[in-house]
Subunit: 192 residues, 2 copies
């Protein structure tokens, strides 16, 4: 009997990545992020710090994820974006050129970012060993089927990202998670 190996599906809630410069503007000179909880991806962590994201129609406090990055980036769901009055392009993390910006407010100051507001393109982080086992390669687009009580679906346009620095997991946003009726721990099947 052949068992199809399944992949864990994790839901990413709205969050912010900050550049060193924006961290200092928002929280003060020399400020360092406080690791609250390590995330499944090696080296990534949720921080105690929160930043207020301001849009045309509203504002929302969002958690900062560490460590700092080259560029500040706000990742939210399209539901969040609509509520806040922000435009969010569907992009892979880091691919922010030409996206919309917004205002960020921290305890020590404000920043107006000119771009960086995105809804994350659904993706799978994968180790090279798991990529071999699943039979996929870096940047390959696959489908992933999730079976739940009453809201089963098959996600298309899922990009595989393969690196020694990753732990194998699929990431979707809260709209996608709720559309599939995902509970706490969900596994999907890769379809090529």
């Amino acid at each position: 009997m052949t068992m199809t190996k399944k992949i864990i599906v994790e839901t990413s809630a709205r969050h912010i990545h900050l550049s060193d410069a924006d961290l200092e503007t928002l929280f003060g000179k020399g400020y360092q992020l406080t690791n609250k909880k390590n995330l499944s991806q090696p080296g990534q962590f949720a921080c105690e710090e929160k930043v207020t994201v301001v849009g045309a129609k509203g504002e929302q406090k969002m958690s900062v994820l560490g460590p700092t990055r080259k560029a500040t980036q706000v990742e939210l769901s399209l539901t969040d974006a609509r509520a806040l009055g922000l435009q969010a392009a569907i992009r892979e993390s880091g691919d922010i050129e030409g996206t919309a910006g917004c205002k960020l407010v921290g305890p020590a100051g404000e920043v107006e970012i000119s771009c960086g507001v995105i809804a994350a393109k659904r993706h799978i982080h994968m180790t090279p060993a798991d990529a071999v086992e699943f039979g996929v390669t870096d940047k390959q687009i696959v489908k992933v089927e999730i079976e739940t009580e009453g809201r089963s679906l098959i996600f298309g346009d899922v990009v595989c990202r393969v690196s020694e620095n990753y732990a194998t997991a699929m990431h979707i946003d809260t709209d996608e998670s709720n559309a599939a009726g995902c509970g706490r721990e969900v596994y999907g099947t890769i379809i090529k």
Copy 2:
């Protein structure tokens, strides 16, 4: 050449249906709903009236849909439910037995409903003629594929509901619409 007929996919935002009794409690004795805009389903209309839905974690004004029904029902997305601190079962409209309740506040009074908070099970309203053309029957479960830029997906667990009183259209909620990156006008393909 065979062309596959596609079905229009409409997004239902959060809304409330009221019973006659609850309408009177919330808006006053003898109150009548005000038709603001006819909906695609014959006889259904969006109303000027709004009701505040109160959960453990927050509250949200929602539009009332008319006409009044046998039982009051709150239809929201799982994202909404989480933000408000409400439990929402995935149910077909009208199938509210054993679901959670909430508090409703109107200009003339309040109601505590003991059940009726649901996230709508994705479904297709269909005329008998279109059901023949699509080759489906009442209560049949199908899949519907939606192709969009970067967020294509295939919805499973879609229930077909066939009646002379319907206009043919698929209904999904805002989480599902955003998960698929649906824009203003989207069409899906039924897969059996």
